[in-house]
Subunit: 348 residues, 2 copies
Amino acid sequence: MPIFTPSELRQVVHDVFSRLGASPEEVRRLQDHLVESNLLGHDSHGVWIIPLYVDMIRQQHIVLGAKPDVVIESSSHAVLDGNWGLGQLMGWLAARLAVDKARQGALAAVTLRNCSHLGRLGEYSQMIARQGLIGFVAVNGQGGVQGVAPWGGLERRLSVNPMSYAIPAPDGVIMLDISPTVVAAGKVAVKALRGERVPEGWIVDSEGRSTTDPDAFEGPPPGSLVPLGGYKGYGLGLIVDILAGALSGGGCSRPDAGRWGNATFMLAINPAAFGEQRAFETEVKNFLAYVRSSRVAPGFEEVLIPGEPEAREKVRRSRAGIFVEDRTWSNITAILDELKRHSSERSL
Amino acid sequence: MPIFTPSELRQVVHDVFSRLGASPEEVRRLQDHLVESNLLGHDSHGVWIIPLYVDMIRQQHIVLGAKPDVVIESSSHAVLDGNWGLGQLMGWLAARLAVDKARQGALAAVTLRNCSHLGRLGEYSQMIARQGLIGFVAVNGQGGVQGVAPWGGLERRLSVNPMSYAIPAPDGVIMLDISPTVVAAGKVAVKALRGERVPEGWIVDSEGRSTTDPDAFEGPPPGSLVPLGGYKGYGLGLIVDILAGALSGGGCSRPDAGRWGNATFMLAINPAAFGEQRAFETEVKNFLAYVRSSRVAPGFEEVLIPGEPEAREKVRRSRAGIFVEDRTWSNITAILDELKRHSSERSL
């Protein structure tokens, strides 16, 4: 049950990926992304994912050193081709471009195709909001990795299609990071790994029957995540699949998509263009205070704003350290040992 | 149980509102909006609402003849003040402005404050999509008419905050028109009117207890609509309250908001700026065909695309006629009789 400080984990990320040939910038993006995800409590996008990314780099699914091409560009939008580069770097560059353009005007949209896994979308929407803008980010699987059957259907036809919103607020950032399904696929995978049942309502099996057996999700035959609120979540997922897939040119969910990635749609809106930035932030501040002033429901200690549970977890874990499961840690250690052996052999 | 043709209902709308002083353009907008809502099966935004609008006009809550002011404008955005004019006209003008701007560039956002009830949001998103653009429309209650408690709270702090997306597709328009709650408030009101129970999970009472008594929603003390998927629907509603309330200057939900309205955020995205319009529409077409190709779940006849249930209802009602409840019809008849009496008295 190892527990680490953030800087220890940053060192681990550095040691693994720099040995694999990642540039200092790529290493920094991975350090920021993975360790921040762990700090916020989103462990599924934390260091747990290192072995997967190592495999992807070795198989050239993630192409280290790739630079994005700007395919189309105007003052308020751009279409980028990520050339299968590291998602954490491509996503960061796309968000920075959206911020730069929106700041010059009122709003900007940037799409991105041929880009590997972006990880936690809140990273990019928050980055936009920290610059004083409203951020929206959504991705599909660039046609592949479907996990959701349409409402009224039995076979997977949509990616999970997560989305994230972030809004600048005087005492931090409002951040919502959700999939339009009852739960994200990662939560089902964790239950399956641990041999636990899933709650009723998370997934259905290949015949559309509600089940608590997490293995019924992957199958074979594969089941489906349950869309949030039935047709509403199905509809939201379908919209995201089009925004991210069709506007980027990466493609919507389809059969035989080949290489999967995170085709991406990002939007940045500049509140200062719609009035005074300060008036916007004061309005948001007063609204949040009003929301918080509600009497608290039984079973809750207080009313929280989206993003606050994560911000509090970050404070807690920054002090108490980040817990990494034995299995994850031994996987990472094995990779590190192998990389060190390999580099010392090369230096002989 | 009167059943009407669309043109009969258009005549009724004309007769009521032109006698109240609505301009030909205002009458046309009301005809299109109310009768189309009935045709699509969204009766809560159909002719049922005529008596409410008549009251609002008489109380000067809806200001007939008002023109919008353009408060801020650039090539990609605008902030409009509706001067409390008719929502159906102000919303239509705002959507047209968003379309014009997005067509010249890549995307455009238009906000609108001091505007009365917009009605069915799908009207505006669909209008944008029929011009070949992606449309998004969201409104709050300009601070007032709250109906949703925050996640973990007991007291209403947010408007219902509905949103609508529409996307052009080769064989029509994809249209999603939802609130981030399990059901819209109108459905609870209809159950209360009919003396029926509501299904478990729609509403909670003032102490946060799930209830099937529709009267527990309005109270006193008032209950709350249940947010879609708990914290996810709460988060989406909070984002909409800020997009619509803070970016328009109309204001987010707050105590003592005074006059309620529909502060509005609209976004239009031009797919042609991100590639070829035809390539976009082909991608969407192929995606929809793939979604439809799923095996059908038990209890369903086929997989439908968002907006199709409404489009089919329109075909059906265009043939079979539009049913209007006796009570609604007698209310409308009473208003018409009174208006006719009043105008014949004036002509004596």
